[in-house]
Symmetry: C2
Subunit: 457 residues, 2 copies
């Protein structure tokens, strides 16, 4: 009987464990998760915080009990894989509450340890009133703080989590300032699209401060010499009053466990894997936010931590740990975010990313209505395409517009997998009816623009 | 100076004329349109009839005056091209109001004569109170009739126009019965999806009668011996009281002008064209609903009259008439329709179409939520894929669900152009965030199902 140990029980880990169970009915499968929840949708946390989702349990797809009884997967929560001894094929796990340690033999090991918030290197992070939003427990704490009273919140970081959390805080009646070190939110977008996000934030009462790296957090020193409470965020441009600070300045892979065991890492310190999600140790696979991925446009390893990727990689890692040879097809970095009443989506490479990857790239942009002009309820859409100049090959795409219009990014994602040129995209037979699109779909108009060149000639 | 004559001034005709002007600034371009409007969105007529669109002018993209002054295209409305003399390179045009005829020389001729309603061969079609919905004038007449009073309407035909008109009539407060000769509405869908339409119609108070070919229309003979007014629709199953009847039983190509001139026709009597939209006469091009098209999945000529295709074909025909060699890339038959609060979309081949085309095809179907389960406002989506059994090549797809979810059909249209297998589709990196999709997108779930086979093994 083969024993599989899975370190990490969220998207990638439980996908791997489930896949192993399906392919190896006899296997012994043990999964360990640091937090108190497994198999949850971390991407739903901002909606729980904002109150659109009532209970944290709604974010949980399956409980440890379900895994035990229905899939015969032993899941231990609040338990961490602390150490790997690759030579002896053993891991040391530690129950966090008791501190109790156990050493367990494994035949095959899956690392799905995820990522964790990466705070800027400043003073004051230990103050009370400072939050992150990664685990279910983080969401519960932040929601409690927002419900207790209203006040001034400062969100550090204009990525997905920062944007969604800012909206959640406004829903809760807080004053919100979003502080971003870079000159724009969502660094993976071209500045033109990021501007639309800034406008939407400001339209909804969020103060946006760009190009302001945080220099420190100041609190009131409590009389008793305790931690004190955060009162101000200090940036290059001054001090911002704050009753609460959310640190959403990005994440980094939890690869220390692997590194300590001598397993190779690659891009951004993520665990290096091959197309079968195998690490440098043939008995160890890695998947999800702790692992590298492969970019279909550049053809190179990359690190793009997203929930979709984590689920898929987990499935592949599980399949291969159980003896298969499934290959992860790579990612295009497709992502979508709702910012109040604006939807923004991206896939492939931004113009900056394309140039950094060595492409002679240019971008075209069209502004079109999402529905027939005469049909009520549509809105203006921005479609931006990044293409290789010589071949007109599509390298990436970005959309902004009404939330119901931006899932069309998937059409561009398919185009990237198919290595379409702008002409191929222009040839597509896209669906038209007045409630859904203009007769010339905005994606086709953008493709036509790309064929003409960026100056419309 | 080259003289181009364009017969038909709606989508294909005016696209062709505009393209010619762009490529040949010296050309003389004359366009003739039977109806009183050019360059209008015929697909918007049901929304004008229902009152979502206030004025018929809103459906018109450009007026004859605009074409004359801005594009130097001479447009004559209420004027028909009656006859082509190919040997002499002449057309005879007739002004409908005066009956006056002119004979005009052409160098190159574009046929964009469109299609017209095809009524069943029954008695009573001459009665008062019987309508069609094809031209702007038809829409104005039908809207007036619906506004004058309320009563019982019978819609003959469950295609796009019939479905959208039934909704428009309910908006106007009429009782509506939809009568379809076939056992389902929307013959281009698999029955499973068509059922969702029937349920949505019935939920909104439309009586649906399927498998009931119309046998006749009965009226009250007026005392003065006039036409009389329609009172009943007679089907195999009985008589249906009717104060108004809309005949929406399909359309057929207006190819008589071409046929009389000895130009070849093909599928369903549409004008035969090559990939450059050239007819059997090298100086005559055809585009739009009167012309054949090419199906990217079957690789064969087909006739799929849709507004998107008409616009694209017109552009290609114009480009080539002006000396170019653009090729029409073909269609996948992508279409979408809103039926009250349900969106339905299709692309490629239905299961029946695939089998008729000689494929050993099977279909898989999944029912999934359109958004993350915990996120408010989503709904159940049906995703159906038609695949070739041996290769798992994708042959078609169909979606039904919340209107904001079904434009995702475009992703499947792109997949058909790229000749994706179900495995290729499954490998796509589709956008995920809770307001937009579950972490496993419904399209991916359907692809996975196709990889397992229709019985889930």
């Amino acid at each position: 009987m083969t024993r599989y140990i899975v370190a990490g029980g969220v998207a990638a880990g439980m996908s791997a464990a489930s896949r192993i169970r399906r392919l190896d009915p006899e296997a012994e499968i043990l999964a360990f998760e640091r937090s108190g929840y497994v198999s949850y949708g971390a991407c739903g946390l901002p909606y729980f915080v904002g109150g659109l989702v009532e209970r944290p349990e709604q974010l949980v797809h399956y409980t440890p009990d379900y895994f035990r009884s229905e899939r015969r997967i032993e899941v231990a929560v609040r338990t961490e894989v602390e150490r790997i001894d690759r030579e002896r094929h053993e891991v040391t796990v530690r129950e966090l509450a008791s501190g109790e340690r156990r050493t367990l033999r494994y035949d095959r090991l899956i690392l799905a340890t995820g990522a964790r918030p990466s705070a800027p290197p400043v003073d004051g992070l230990e103050l009370e009133g400072i939050y992150v939003l990664r685990l279910v427990e983080d969401g519960i704490r932040l929601r409690q703080a927002l419900e207790e009273r209203k006040g001034r919140a400062v969100v550090l970081g204009g990525g997905y989590v920062g944007l969604e959390a800012a909206e959640a805080m406004r829903r809760r009646g807080w004053e919100v300032t979003l502080v971003e070190a870079l000159p724009q939110p969502m660094a993976s977008l071209d500045p033109e699209l990021a501007e639309a996000i800034v406008r939407e934030l400001e339209r909804n009462g969020v103060e946006v401060r760009l190009g302001e790296p945080v220099q420190g957090l100041e609190g009131d020193r409590s009389a008793g010499g305790g931690r004190g409470r955060v009162r101000r965020v200090v940036t290059r441009a001054g001090r911002i009053e704050a009753d609460l600070v959310l640190v959403a300045t990005g994440i980094r892979p939890n690869s220390e466990l692997a590194v300590a065991a001598g397993i190779e890492t690659g891009v951004r310190g993520a665990i290096r894997v091959d197309a079968e999600m195998r690490t440098s140790d043939p008995d160890v696979w890695a998947a999800g936010d702790c692992a590298e991925t492969y970019h279909v446009v550049t053809g190179r390893p990359d690190w793009i931590p997203l929930g979709t990727t984590a689920n898929k990689q987990g499935r592949i890692a599980g399949e291969n740990a159980a003896g298969g040879h499934a290959r992860f097809p790579g990612v295009a970095g497709t992502a979508v975010v709702k910012v109040f009443d604006l939807g923004v989506a991206r896939t492939g490479l931004s113009l900056a990313e394309a140039r950094a990857a060595g492409f002679d790239a240019e971008a075209v942009e069209v502004h079109q209505r999402s529905r027939a002009g005469y049909y009520p309820g549509g809105g203006r859409m921005i479609v931006r395409l990044v293409v290789e100049r010589s071949s007109c090959r599509l390298l990436g795409g970005q959309l902004a517009g009404p939330p119901d219009a931006v899932k069309r990014i998937d059409t561009l994602a398919a185009a990237l997998y198919a290595r379409f040129t702008a002409e191929d995209l222009y040839s597509l037979d896209l669906a038209y009816a007045p409630p859904f699109a203009p007769v010339w779909d905005p994606l086709l108009m953008a493709a036509r623009q790309a064929l003409r060149g960026p100056r419309g000639d």
